[in-house]
């Protein structure tokens, strides 16, 4: 598999097309946080909304456009973290960040398990310029969580 094929694995192309979580929705929850992020290299934007259900990520939805990497990444994110506890979600974010920094090397099994479909993004780590694309949705999620938790306090 060439680096290019590794980067654009079928699972990534599928997620890019399906876009889980696309379309902002009202989570019907009290603690809601939203974040708007821009990838200034290309002008891509995302708005992501999180609803917390106590210590659980109750709902993730988003709106925006971007390259297949950024779209697939936020789709995977949505699938992964919806329903996770805040603690699990933090671990997932941590693992995804580690994957991006791994320069294309796979992570240990524990973290791979945590990432599920998201392990397919391993190829992105070889292209520093694209890490920003893959992180766009995750940065928005992190920021939205902060807002949602502030809402709580």
């Amino acid at each position: 598999m060439s680096s290019l094929e590794q980067m654009y694995q079928q699972v990534i192309m599928d997620h890019a097309r399906e876009g889980h979580g696309r379309g902002l929705k009202d989570p019907g929850l009290i603690q809601v946080g939203e974040s708007h992020q821009i990838n200034t290299t290309c002008g891509d934007e995302i708005t992501l909304r999180v609803g917390l259900d106590g210590v659980t990520v109750g709902s993730v939805s988003w709106e925006g456009q971007g390259c297949s990497i950024s779209q697939a990444s936020v789709s995977v994110l949505t699938e992964l973290v919806e329903g996770q506890s805040l603690e699990q979600a933090e671990e997932t974010m941590e693992a995804f960040r580690a994957l991006m920094q791994s320069k294309g090397e796979p992570l240990d099994d524990d973290r791979e398990d945590l990432l599920g479909d998201a392990t397919a993004f391993v190829g992105v780590g070889k292209y520093p310029a694209r890490i920003k694309c893959a992180m766009l949705g995750w940065s928005a999620f992190k920021d939205a969580l902060i807002h949602a938790r502030k809402d709580q306090a």
Binding site: S2, Y8, R17, C42, G43, C67, S68, I69, C133
Partner: protein, 424 residues
């Protein structure tokens, strides 16, 4: 008449990328590569002649000053200016800002009565165009914020050509500055300079030309164009980074107040007040990019030896191949007109959009094939917005670009839709 193969002059072009693939460099619109003649001129300066310019009494200072000024003369010759009408700047962006900030500073009282003619304020207008690079838009937009003047702009049509129908109302008696690009870095379209300058002159507005994409690719004579100011960069014309130039009519430069203050630019300084040199020195505060100026001078000489007419002819050929080729690929949309094969209307670049595929993804596939292009908005967000897209992919040529390079791009581009599962 056309250029010989110049690849051997450019060391970087011989390197391989991504697992041993030959490099196909089509990102010269962003930054060009440098010939050995330029690299050696800089190295020789640094190894043999480096000294404080215009400040020392010793041999090195003398030699450095001589090389620095003769580089200025070379750049002046390239664009048809007099040597004291060329101000060194960090890049073209700094050059355009120098004019905008100078006007802002005059308005704030800097430069005193001598600079009063540059003052602008509420009721005055500054006119730009919708096709501008951010470097020739944001300085004027912010000058408007600073002074209370109003920013207006000339719109473009679906092919990115300036719409001149309302020129007389957009550029009117209240217009103090008309700033526009000579060549768009997205569409490659060459602006109707004569028409714009004539209108500016009729209303007494200053003209500021963004010559970033013209000086490296076309014969440019600032006196023929009859503009008041023109800006361009070293790194886009085969010279080093860290150096650019502002052309300005001597009498205008001599009274425009500086906006960077420091040593070398001043005649008499007391704690209370400062008197400035005439141009160009008044704008060259602090230790200048001396070695880089020497490099830009060497680049100007290299281009003049090739002959700008031949450069233009060569690049038009490649450009036409690219633009026609891109337009012919199903599912790919060229931004701007295809242009003529013989007329001076578009320079040698092609920016395009692949239906259903994001520019980042297009660029990634090309990169995998060893082809270097630029993706994104190319610092022209308003123009991309006008075209209804956030970004595009751009392939751009220079003197060393071959038809093989263009063909490699076209072949790889044809694979893009299928690779990303888009049916055309």
């Amino acid at each position: 008449m056309h250029l010989p193969d110049l690849r051997a002059d450019f060391p970087l072009l011989t390197r391989t990328v991504r697992n041993g693939k030959d490099l196909v460099y089509l990102d010269s619109g962003a930054t060009s590569q440098r010939p050995t003649a330029v690299l050696d001129a800089v190295r020789d300066f640094e190894e043999r002649h480096n000294g404080a310019v215009a400040r020392g009494a010793h041999l090195l200072a003398e030699e450095a000053t001589g090389l620095f000024e003769s580089a200025r003369a070379s750049v002046a010759t390239l664009v048809g200016a007099s040597h004291d009408e060329i101000v060194w700047t960090e890049n073209a962006t700094a050059a355009m800002n120098l004019v905008a900030s100078g006007i802002g500073n005059a308005t704030s009282g800097i430069g005193g009565e001598e600079s009063a003619r540059y003052r602008i304020g509420p009721g005055d207008e500054i006119c730009v165009t919708e096709t501008e690079h951010h470097a020739n838009l944001v300085p004027w937009q912010q000058l408007a914020v600073r002074t209370g003047a109003t920013l207006r702009w000339i719109p473009v049509d679906d092919l990115g050509r300036l719409i001149l129908d309302d020129l007389d109302s957009l550029v009117n008696d209240r217009t103090k500055v008309l700033a526009f690009t000579h060549v768009s870095n997205v569409t490659g379209v060459i602006s109707p300079v004569a028409t714009l300058v004539a209108r500016a002159k009729a209303v007494g507005a200053l003209t500021v030309l963004d010559a970033c994409q013209s000086v490296p690719h076309l014969p440019v004579d600032v006196k023929d164009l009859d503009v008041d100011f023109a800006a361009f960069s070293g790194h886009k014309m085969l010279g080093p980074t860290g150096i650019g130039a502002l052309y300005g009519r001597k009498e205008l430069l001599d009274t425009l107040p500086p906006s960077v203050f420091g040593g070398g630019a001043v005649t008499i300084v007391s704690m209370e007040s400062t008197a400035w040199h005439p141009a160009p020195t008044r704008f060259e505060a602090g230790t200048q990019p001396v070695a880089q100026a020497v490099g830009m001078g060497a680049a100007a000489n290299y281009l003049m030896e090739l002959g700008m007419e031949r450069v233009e002819a060569h690049e038009r050929e490649i450009g036409h191949l690219l633009r026609e080729g891109v337009s012919a690929i199903p599912g790919v949309r060229l931004l701007g007109p295809v242009g003529s094969e013989t007329e001076r209307d578009v320079i040698g670049l092609a920016a395009f959009v692949v239906d259903g595929v994001h520019p980042h993804d297009v660029g990634q596939l090309l990169d995998d094939r060893g082809i270097a292009v630029r993706v994104g908005h190319h610092c022209a967000q308003p123009l991309h917005r006008r075209f209804g897209v956030t970004g595009s992919t751009r392939a751009s040529a220079h003197v060393y670009t071959s038809t093989d390079d263009a063909n490699a791009l076209l072949a790889a581009l044809a694979e893009v839709p299928a690779f990303f599962g888009v049916s055309v």
